[in-house]
Subunit: 283 residues, 2 copies
Amino acid sequence: MKQVATIDEIRNEITELKAQGKTVAFVPTMGALHKGHLSLIRLAREKADEVVVSIYVNPEQFGPNEDFDEYPRQMEDDLKACENEGVALVFTPNNEIIYGSGEKYFSIQIDHLNEYMDGGSRTGFFEGIVLVVNKLFNIIKPDVAIFGQKDIQQFQILSTMVEEFNHDIELVAGPIARANDGLALSSRNAYISEQDRKIAPSLFRALQYVEKQIRDGVMEPKLLLQHQQDELEAKGFKNDYLNVFSMKTMEPVDKLESGKSYILAGAVYLGKTRLIDNIILDL
Amino acid sequence: MKQVATIDEIRNEITELKAQGKTVAFVPTMGALHKGHLSLIRLAREKADEVVVSIYVNPEQFGPNEDFDEYPRQMEDDLKACENEGVALVFTPNNEIIYGSGEKYFSIQIDHLNEYMDGGSRTGFFEGIVLVVNKLFNIIKPDVAIFGQKDIQQFQILSTMVEEFNHDIELVAGPIARANDGLALSSRNAYISEQDRKIAPSLFRALQYVEKQIRDGVMEPKLLLQHQQDELEAKGFKNDYLNVFSMKTMEPVDKLESGKSYILAGAVYLGKTRLIDNIILDL
């Protein structure tokens, strides 16, 4: 495994792989790798001959009051984990390499798709993500790129970007990796106190409960969702959202229809830690 | 020479060229090819093994009151010209192939660089250009792309996009091709009446006159520029702008400094026809 930090180096390495006729799968990460990331890397190995992982905590996708400074960084462990998973190349650029220091004249604007869910709660979050991922796609030029289903809105927005910008890249979503008690794995779980950790799986249980009701025929789940939010609140969570969204437009849907695809998704705070989770509903 | 219209076809053809170890230079055009385009194609042949030309009149870069419908189209002549110049591939997509028919969620925003010059006069013009060129770059993935210096603001904006989006493409500007009397060649010259054609070179002469004065030491050319605009108006032109702009920021500059680069540029209307021209000043 090679670790490189500059754009010239990663391009040279990838040109070398392609000259050998190899296909490349790319797994962009912000480091602090957990079993969820490792499952994405394994999926990447199934999809292409070689795997490239980027480790870069992208400042553009953090709001001014968010946790950019506190975001967990553990480069040595991450590199070891990548090596164990058979990764060929790890790209570890710094901010100067990704954004340079001069004035910026270009930005990418997203309409509608980021109005609700995490886009509604985190201003500029998805613009920051598409800015860096568009760059990384042009730097790495992978055949396939793997993202986690946990960040389903990110996956849908990036899929739309790939389509509208004509990136020649197949996007693949890897399933949500969970702890034994159901909690979706996240680098931010490292922030959760021992006491809060015990109630953390309640978000997923609430989603599972609502999923079952919907599959049993509740096509207007508004009251049901409200009730689950009240229960989460009573347990000590602070609610951000818990709702059913259109898979296509990412907008909340009050009345579900069979034959359509939805995302049942929630975001809550446990102390200062924000947890998200979702279930895809193909009705 | 092959002409292809779909993204899959052009990608297959280019993959084929690259598998043969060939480099690719790309000349994006809106057709109605004249000697200016042909000089860009010749420059492209010097820069890479094979040349790909696109012919596509991009609706997104025309305003609602502009000449999209009237823009000259002459596909058969254009294909013959490309063949004569040794072009390997001509890409002739339609609107459905480039933009599809569904709702669009992404746009590219440009700050500052499009406030003056053509960007100031033509709302949405450069956003339309970067939208289509970003797509074409991702479809063609050339090693080099050639644009004309006549559209100097376009060239500077696209160079900035390449840098900020990390496209792995070298941009090259081809010099302005001119008629014997100095008129910059343009597909839109086809609109000019015979009578107007006689005075059309006055724009370039005005620029040359101002250039000489600046090179002779006039570092605050404001009055000089105003006087030239008055003379053009007296000849029957309608002025849009005639000014000196910073090469870096594309903003007007009142007081020039030696050691810096500027664009001396003008835009005028002759009847309904818009003419533009420019001279690069490295002082």
